[in-house]
């Protein structure tokens, strides 16, 4: 049984990481080596003499060339990464903050029509962005938000809210009310009780929510490509815009860029990993 288990995991691990390993190798190649009809998988210090050899000369050129401005773009990868960081971080913070407050309101107070509102909040998650992008485009043109950081920040915040509210509601429902009631008895106001008692308890949930909001706004493409095609372009839209380049796709730089782009998310996830494993039950398993 144990061996079978290990085998399943090992097999999947190999299959799932092979594309990542290949990406890592591609990022060390010259472009010609990435599209060679003789697969190159052995990095070496010197260029092999035989063109059909499986080894290739490893170089960090692709990482250096991330600062090249490609046709169709006005900035290098780093400029776009800056936009992505700004938009991703601010919108994640905003979604978590707003979502937590909203979830707390629904979790602890009896509001008229609460069920309908919650239904409405959730239903917004089902709608494909492409179904609303034209009206949003019209709205943003009117408000002069097209091609700005603020525009995407607001949009991502809004589109992550449903997830944030529903995740946070699950977490907050699990925090015993007795905690706050004790605080109220001690003379705290409702607001103080929320900030000093509930929020620390909800840390796990907020971390988990932040991970998911960050992943989705970091990687979002549909809105980014249509609303911000010429200003505040995020990394996914930037890379996608390289398609059709007549000098061929700069594969080593795409591989390098994709790895650099995912690194912050991996780091963040590692930091909150324990919370992820404890937290993602949406309040469905009662202890």
């Amino acid at each position: 049984m144990k061996w079978l288990r290990w085998f399943v995991v090992a097999l999947y691990l190999v299959v799932a990481t092979a594309p990542l390993v290949w990406m890592g190798l591609s990022s060390l190649k010259e472009r010609a080596d990435t599209i060679s009809p003789h697969a190159k998988f052995l990095p070496t210090a010197e260029a092999p003499s035989d063109p059909t050899s499986p080894s290739f000369e490893a170089t960090f050129e692709a990482y250096r060339e991330l600062s090249v401005v490609h046709a169709g773009a006005q900035q290098s990868f780093w400029g776009h990464l800056g936009s992505s960081v700004l938009i991703g971080l601010v919108s994640t913070l905003a979604s978590v903050a707003l979502g937590t407050c909203c979830a707390y309101g629904f979790s602890r107070f009896r509001l008229p029509g609460a069920k309908d509102w919650l239904f409405f909040v959730l239903s917004t998650r089902f709608l494909p962005p492409l179904a609303v992008v034209v009206p949003v485009l019209i709205m943003y043109r009117t408000l002069d938000l097209q091609g700005t950081h603020v525009g995407l920040i607001v949009l991502y915040t809004v589109f992550n809210l449903s997830l944030a509210v529903w995740l946070m509601k699950g977490f907050l429902d699990e925090i015993p009310r007795a905690f706050e009631e004790a605080a109220l008895v001690d003379g705290y106001t409702r607001g103080q009780a929320f900030v000093r008692v509930v929020l620390p308890e909800a840390r796990t949930g907020m971390a988990v929510t932040a991970v998911f909001c960050l992943i989705s706004s970091w990687n979002e493409y549909g809105f980014a490509m249509t609303l911000n095609s010429s200003g505040a372009v995020t990394v996914p839209a930037y890379f996608a815009g390289l398609q059709g380049n007549i000098e061929g796709m700069p594969w080593p730089q795409i591989a390098a860029g994709a790895l650099v782009f995912v690194a912050p998310i991996v780091l963040f996830t590692v930091l909150v990993r324990e919370n992820l494993l404890r937290g993602m039950t949406f309040g469905t398993i009662k202890q």
């Binding site: 009809p37 309908d116 709205m139 996608a240 398609q243 059709g244 007549i246 000098e247 061929g248």
Partner: protein
């Protein structure tokens, strides 16, 4: 309760809609980019001619102090980016070098500034090659109403590995197999034979490649060279009728022939964009490619005398090349002063001496008929002469305002036929019906 929340939302929304309705009417007031030196932004897609135009732009700046910036955008997303700009109240570009098919949409949508009265004051219209005028600049065709100044003419041509064609061993083997000399193919039958001869996947060597991408217009541009040569049509000559003209034997034969060519290229060659067609050649694996002449300077630079160029093959005496090339149009969605600056640049560009410099740039294919046919142009590069010979054989796809819908439908249905998802005849019948529906909807039929 549910009704309650929906009513509330609806009210809010109506309020919002009212606000936006009010302010969107205000797009007449434009902001001017007043940051010191006057400058002009030109958008074109990414290829060598745009680099050449940028060089001319620097000469213009040296003469006039007006800076010219040519931004190159990969063709795959060029159309969307440009028309998203046109949807706003001010475009990021002052001059757009729009694809020939866009002229109807640009002209009738009020996106391009009409140049009919102005253009004759800066250039003698008689010097412009009639096909360039008809397809690149005027809308409707031949109406005498100008919406673009001629910039680049282009056509599909053939590039082949001269060194392979001249290799005595190959020639001998070819002769033994086909009973004739290995030569640059003049007809599509010959083209297929040569491609078949060089198709050796085990040696990683392939016969031919041509545009076949489904994203923008690749497949359509690749197929239509054959389409006209095989006696097919997109539409009736004198009218916009499609049914009975597109869904004919000639068109079907062309597509069936095209399908056989797709078996004689590198794997996956039924979906190559212009760049990938070039790549299949520059990586040294493919014997012949069909692509636009203006993409060839890079090949020439890389292969030197190992590459040869020719006009597209013919079929039963018919030879037609897909037209490429673009006119320069001024965006109607920029301030008047910017439009004046743009006109100054265009007027300068069209001057005879500048046009003569234009042809010295890589693939600077002027539309000036006299320069095009001059010995100086023809001998400038190995691909100039076959290009000049192609100009009279150029034809274009639709250029009506709804060309984009027609193009998308063509790409989809011809794609299904090429992939074998639908029998060719059926795909053509459906495409013809779909095109007539689009044209009727637009009031063009």
């Amino acid at each position: 309760m549910r009704t309650n929340s929906w009513t509330l939302s609806a009210l809010l929304a109506i309020g919002l809609a009212a606000c936006s309705g009010e302010s969107s009417g205000e797009n007449a007031t434009l902001s001017t980019a007043a940051n010191g030196t006057p400058s002009i932004k030109v958008w074109w897609f990414q290829w060598d001619p745009a680099t050449g135009l940028q060089e001319l732009g620097r000469e213009f700046q040296a003469e006039t102090g007006i800076a010219v910036e040519v931004q190159q955008i990969p063709l795959a997303s060029y159309q969307e980016k440009v028309f998203l700009e046109f949807g706003g109240s001010r475009t990021n570009f002052d001059i757009v070098i729009g694809d020939s098919q866009w002229i109807g949409r640009g002209a009738s949508g009020g996106l391009y500034v009409e140049l009919t009265d102005w253009l004759p004051t800066v250039v003698d219209l008689a010097t412009i090659h009639p096909r360039a005028a008809k397809y690149l600049c005027e809308y409707p065709e031949g109406s005498g109403r100008w919406y673009a100044a001629p910039c680049e003419t282009d056509a599909v041509g053939l590039a082949y590995r001269k060194d392979w064609f001249e290799d005595p061993k190959e020639r001998e083997a070819f002769k033994a197999r086909y009973g004739r000399e290995l030569a640059v193919p003049a007809t599509y039958e010959e083209f297929r034979q040569v491609a078949e001869f060089f198709q050796r996947p085990d040696e990683k060597r392939y016969g031919c490649a041509m545009p076949s991408d489904r994203n923008y217009d690749g497949l359509t541009m690749g197929v239509q060279n054959l389409l006209w040569a095989f006696g097919g049509k997109w539409k009736d000559e004198g009218s916009n009728k499609v049914v009975g003209h597109l869904d004919t034997q000639g068109t079907a034969d062309a597509i069936e022939f095209f399908k056989t060519l797709m078996k004689l290229g590198p794997k996956g060659c039924e979906r190559l964009d212009y760049g990938q067609v070039l790549e299949s050649f520059t990586n040294g694996s493919t014997a012949m490619i069909l692509n636009y002449f203006a993409f060839f300077p890079g090949i020439q630079a890389q292969f030197g005398d190992k590459v040869g160029f020719a006009v597209v093959p013919s079929h039963e005496g018919r030879r037609v090349a897909s037209l490429g090339g673009q006119g320069m149009s001024i965006s109607a969605k920029i301030p008047k002063e910017q439009q004046e600056l743009a006109k100054r640049f265009i007027a300068w560009f069209l001057k005879r001496e500048v046009q003569e410099r234009w042809i010295t740039k890589p693939a600077g294919f002027t539309a000036n008929a006299e320069i095009l046919s001059s010995p100086a142009f023809r001998s400038k590069t190995p691909y100039n002469a076959p290009f000049a010979d192609s100009v009279d054989a150029m034809r274009d796809f639709w250029n009506v305002p709804v060309f984009n819908k027609l193009l998308a439908a063509t790409q989809r249905y011809v794609g299904m036929a090429v992939d074998g998802e639908m029998p060719t005849q059926e795909a053509l019948q459906k495409l013809a019906a779909e095109k007539e529906r689009i044209l009727k909807e637009a009031g063009l039929l």
